[in-house]
């Protein structure tokens, strides 16, 4: 059977992605939902994501067994590690070079729809896993536990932004690896990092500035003391996902 032509009623014809007669709000909501579902599907089938989920589950079980005897600082650092790891993997996966970016280009919705839809999916997954582990560890009953959990989610978003921004350029694996690196070594504060690198002043200066600019974990540990650190992390999340969307949407300029 030859399919009916023209396209079904209500489907866009020549001239753009927004259907000609429907409500713009409904159309935008439909597109946002599609992006969210797309990102969730991408995350669900990414092997590194499954690994991170398994590690998070193991952490939740281990912290649950300790029955709230773990030191609050250790719980906080574990939450940051988990949130950062989830963000690092998720950001790279949803904006990776190849099929995820291709899908974005072919859907060709307004850029903010792609960015918000996919970033929301990353945030949801990060929040669910991080807060789940926090609950298992009894983190919410600790003093300042909620603030630590929220700052961990914010940190996950910032690392996700970094990973997402790198994803369309170097692929999901490379982006995830770099972002994971910032999570794992980022607990060292800038002053301590400067002291470690003291014999190499040029390197020490560069790393010192990098440590102040990058979304590294030491900053997340201080969010509940200084909201400025939270603003920096939020800017990383917004800027990273924004840059990722623009980059993923751009046509390849070739290998000249």
């Amino acid at each position: 059977m030859i399919p009916p032509n023209p396209r079904p009623a209500g489907a866009a014809t020549v001239g753009g992605s927004v259907p000609p007669t429907g409500s713009l709000v409904t159309a935008t909501a439909t597109a946002l939902e599609a992006e969210l579902r797309c990102a969730m599907r991408l995350l669900g089938y990414a092997r590194p994501m499954r690994l991170v989920v398994m590690v998070s589950g193991a952490a939740a079980v281990a912290l649950g067994i300790t029955g709230g005897h773990a030191a609050p600082q250790a719980v906080g650092q574990i939450l940051l590690l988990i949130a950062g790891s989830v963000g690092a993997v998720a950001g790279g996966v949803v904006f990776g070079a190849g099929a995820p970016s291709h899908a974005l280009r072919r859907a060709a919705a307004p850029l903010w729809v792609h960015g918000v839809g996919r970033a929301t999916a990353c945030a949801l997954v990060t929040a669910i896993l991080t807060l789940g582990v926090a609950m298992a560890a009894g983190g919410f009953s600790m003093s300042g536990g909620r603030a630590v959990a929220v700052s961990a989610v914010l940190f996950g978003g910032a690392v996700g932004g970094l990973s997402a921004a790198l994803g369309p350029r170097i692929g999901a694996s490379g982006a995830g690896a770099i972002a994971l690196g910032t999570v794992w070594v980022g607990f060292v504060p800038p002053a301590a990092m400067g002291a470690i690198l003291e014999p190499w002043p040029a390197v020490a200066n560069a790393v010192f500035w990098l440590w102040h600019l990058a979304p590294v974990a030491w900053r997340a540990e201080l969010v509940h003391e200084d909201v400025g650190h939270g603003i920096v992390l939020a800017l990383w999340a917004i800027g990273g996902f924004g840059s990722a969307t623009v980059r993923a949407f751009a046509a390849e300029r070739g290998g000249r």
């Binding site: 059977m1 030859i2 399919p3 009916p4 032509n5 023209p6 396209r7 079904p8 009623a9 209500g10 489907a11 866009a12 014809t13 020549v14 001239g15 753009g16 992605s17 259907p19 007669t21 429907g22 409500s23 409904t26 159309a27 909501a29 439909t30 597109a31 939902e33 599609a34 579902r37 797309c38 599907r41 991408l42 669900g44 089938y45 990414a46 190849g98 099929a99 995820p100 291709h102 899908a103 280009r105 072919r106 859907a107 060709a108 919705a109 307004p110 850029l111 949407f249 751009a250 046509a251 390849e252 300029r253 070739g254 290998g255 000249r256």
Partner: protein
């Protein structure tokens, strides 16, 4: 919409540097609404690059590629053009239904998404495979999913890279009708394929490419209207065949004899008469209609074949 849908003007794409530098173009191409253009050529001819330029997946380094008057690599143009690449670039984890639903959600009102997905599924004709992950499908089925996705996403034009490859004859036959239907109502379709016989049944125009350039661009009616005399000769008649070729400079040797284009008043009777005069033992002969293959061979061997 019968005006120019795709327009490439001096479009050039450069890959690599120094010794590895490879230039595609400059390309001049106009595709109008209602046309189904087949792009053929040897491997590495630049077909996929041309298609990616038209789909806005690549930006030309020189010249321009436009879709309905806008640069091809813009959101507006991409929302007009449905593109099925080779290999199909469907994200891992998606099955046909999810992929079509994703694209349809960006092209239809909420209440019309389901009907647009159904429409796309009819084109893919993957049946029960619609809920299997695309990565696990055969090449032919995956190509059909890509075609369905392109049909759903492409509101005014389709760019299809090798969607006819790897399909069994029955599916191919069904697909001919579907492609022809997609090419109606002013929609422009550009298909690249190595399956020349399949293209002949679908396209309205043929573009031959080689070494990054367009060598021939002709309506399919003109290609098929040509006639070719094929003469099979007895084994060991190589010298005789060469003597015949002196009479017909455009004749080509074939494994079993020779092929003579019947143009400019040349007739089969004349060819056979020359064979008799040259005492060449003819084992069999036939006249057949021209084919895209003839155009491809003529164009890639002898430069621009506009004759």
């Amino acid at each position: 919409m019968t005006g120019s849908v795709f327009r490439a003007q001096g479009a050039q794409k450069i890959f690599g540097r120094f010794a590895a530098r490879r230039v595609i173009g400059p390309l001049e191409l106009d595709v109008h609404g209602g046309e189904i253009v087949g792009v053929v050529g040897p491997n590495g001819a630049g077909k996929s690059t041309l298609l990616r330029l038209l789909a806005g997946e690549l930006v030309p380094d020189r010249g321009s590629v436009q879709v309905l008057g806008r640069p091809a690599a813009t959101r507006e143009s991409r929302s007009i053009v449905g593109y099925a690449g080779d290999p199909p670039s469907v994200p891992d984890g998606f099955h046909a239904l999810a992929w079509l639903r994703y694209l349809a959600a960006h092209r239809a009102e909420r209440r019309a998404v389901a009907s647009l997905v159904r429409w796309g599924l009819e084109i893919t004709a993957v049946g029960d495979d619609a809920s299997r992950r695309v990565a696990t499908l055969s090449r032919g089925s995956a190509q059909r999913v890509a075609l369905g996705g392109a049909a759903v996403a492409g509101t005014g034009a389709l760019v299809l890279d090798e969607v006819l490859s790897g399909l069994d004859p029955l599916v191919l036959r069904a697909l001919h009708g579907r492609l022809a239907a997609l090419g109606t109502r002013g929609r422009a379709v550009v298909i690249a394929s190595h399956d020349l016989a399949a293209l002949e049944r679908v396209v309205t125009r043929v573009v031959v490419m080689d070494e990054g350039r367009i060598l021939a661009d002709q309506p399919i009616a003109r290609v098929l209207a040509r006639r070719v005399a094929e003469v099979a000769v007895a084994p060991g008649s190589g010298e005789g065949v060469e003597r015949i070729r002196r009479h017909f400079p455009r004749a080509e040797r074939t494994p079993g004899g020779l092929r003579v284009p019947l143009t400019r008043g040349t007739s089969m009777e004349e060819v056979l008469a020359v064979c008799r005069a040259e005492r060449l033992a003819v084992a069999g002969s036939r006249v057949r209609h021209g084919a895209i293959e003839d155009l491809l061979i003529a164009a890639t061997r002898g430069g621009r074949a506009d004759a």
